[in-house]
Amino acid sequence: MRTSFIKKEGVQGWLMILPNTLGLLLFYLIPIGWSIILSLFKWNGLSKMKFIGFQNFGLLFSDASFLYSLRNTFIYSIVVVPLIILFVLCFGVLLARDEIKGVAGFRTLYFLPVMTMPVAAALIWKWLLNSRFGLVNKFLGYLSIPPINWLTSPAYVLPSVIIIGIWLGVAYDLIIIISGMKGIPGMYYEAADIDGASGFRKFFSITLPLLTPSLFFILITQLISCFQVFDTVSIILGADPPGSLWNAACSVVMNIYQNGFVNFRMGYSSAQSFMLFCIVLLITLVQFKVQKKWVNYA
């Protein structure tokens, strides 16, 4: 007997994957290819596209604004990621212990940043870091530290963005670390107690090695998201910042946005985003290579 066309497994399978596949194809896969092609053209989005070979990529290395953004993004990532990991480990050790009463309630305090929209978080911090009325400078004042122009001095604007990045990132990764710490079997600690191991010894010999898969995940995902930082930088810099501030804090994605959608240099913007993709891919590949040396999979 012939099964009808619609009843075949192959037909039904294809029908079920069709919507998501078409959507991803149209809005993600084709655009990715298109973006790579666009990077070889000069185009303002309206006029005829002009093929210019690798000129856009050559331009990248003489474009001061892009080089500044690359430097800022590197500094941002290199400072934010290790500090997040450090904080997350400290907080995790405190919060993963269920024998402390009420710890679940306290965790909520630490998770608050996860619930804050990054744009809103940047605005909150802009108010906190306000040089005259901000809480941060008030607090520093009690420690007899003179007020700092967090948002208006080129030396401090990037650190401001870094503080926000850490605040937002710690909360999210803390959730991952706490569940990682709770996944470590209690018998390891009991055995260590019998041997009379100190708290520090237990942390460095049990907790840390067994957490390396979670730490690896945090490292990979945080590095990728740090290299794509945009929301907070754009709010901190605000509309039309002075050149010195822009150079001190703009990120690569800010440059991509600026070139693509403010200056309408869409080919050049595509070349920048392709560069970003290559950098992120390279860093991720290196991470996966290096992980064999330090990540323990039980």
């Binding site: 996860v114 809103a120 909150i124 009991e190």
Partner: protein, 274 residues
């Protein structure tokens, strides 16, 4: 296991100290949203507002079309979440439990989306939306986010962990594959679906760069873009901005309160599965 009392006391002290430090910006946002302009600028700063009046909230709703931004954000988030739930779960089931020609190649090709930074698709997607006439429309904002390689992968991993027996049993009873999926597997995947809902809602609610590009007027602006614009205006009143920020955060807090278990599980799950 015995811990000394000082150890516990020190732990409590540190937990509260760091917890307050982490929570301060959030608490300060809410407190500032109730203060008057004068209270904001006084030295030394007042901690609690003198009156809890909704003046700032009312002002911000009148100074920009805040409520319509709010509505846009809700509509877009609902569209994206429902679409991802339907499309990702169907595709995930087909990839996990069915066998058909070309499925492996399609799956791997779709996963490449996960490796590419979203910035690469901005210019082409903008051109696509312009061609479709969807610039500055709610569909234009919502569309790319209605499809997800991440969601598909997350659910596929979940369906892989469910047994095949239901499929065989359902097939013998004359159910179509889609029927088996809808009646048997979909109800079983509730926890994974809730995780996906939480991720999609958070992503969609917080999304800033794409709406910034695709919206050119109040017809399609969402909250994130709306409150960002507010601070670009000449005089910035931080009490009003904080009222806006508070309102933008309330829905996510509600989700956290009601779905705390799934919320934490979902994020932890993403850490385990990668």
């Amino acid at each position: 296991m015995h811990r000394s009392k000082t150890n516990i006391a020190v732990s409590y002290f540190l937990i509260i100290l760091f917890g307050l430090a982490m929570a301060t910006p959030f608490v300060w946002m809410i407190l500032s949203s109730f203060k008057t302009e004068v209270e904001l600028m006084q030295t030394p700063p007042s901690f609690l507002p003198r009156h809890y009046k909704l003046t700032n909230y009312l002002t911000i709703m009148q100074s920009i079309p805040f409520l319509s931004f709010y509505l846009h954000t809700i509509i877009i988030t609902v569209i994206r979440t429902l679409a991802q739930l339907a499309f990702c779960s169907m595709a995930a089931f087909a990839f996990a439990k069915m066998h058909f020609k070309g499925q492996n190649i399609v799956f791997i090709v779709l996963l490449t989306v996960l490796m590419v930074p979203v910035q690469m698709i901005l210019v082409p997607d903008y051109i696509i939306m312009r061609t479709l006439g969807l610039v500055d429309s709610l569909w234009g904002v919502a569309l790319p986010g209605m499809f997800s390689a991440f969601g598909m992968f997350l659910l596929r991993q979940f369906y892989m962990s469910l047994p095949n027996e239901f499929l065989d049993a359902g097939r013998i009873d004359g159910c179509s594959y889609f029927g088996v999926f809808r009646r048997l597997y979909l109800p079983l995947s509730k926890s994974a679906l809730i995780s996906l809902v939480i991720f999609t809602v958070m992503y969609s609610w917080n999304d800033y760069l794409w709406p910034l590009i695709i919206s050119s007027s109040d017809n399609s602006r969402v909250l994130s873009v709306g409150i960002a614009l507010l601070q670009g205006q000449n005089r910035v009143y931080y009490n009003e901005l904080m009222a806006g920020a508070t309102m933008a955060t309330i829905p996510v807090i509600l989700i956290f309160v009601f779905f705390q278990r799934y919320f934490v599980q979902g994020i932890a799950l993403s850490g385990i599965k990668g």
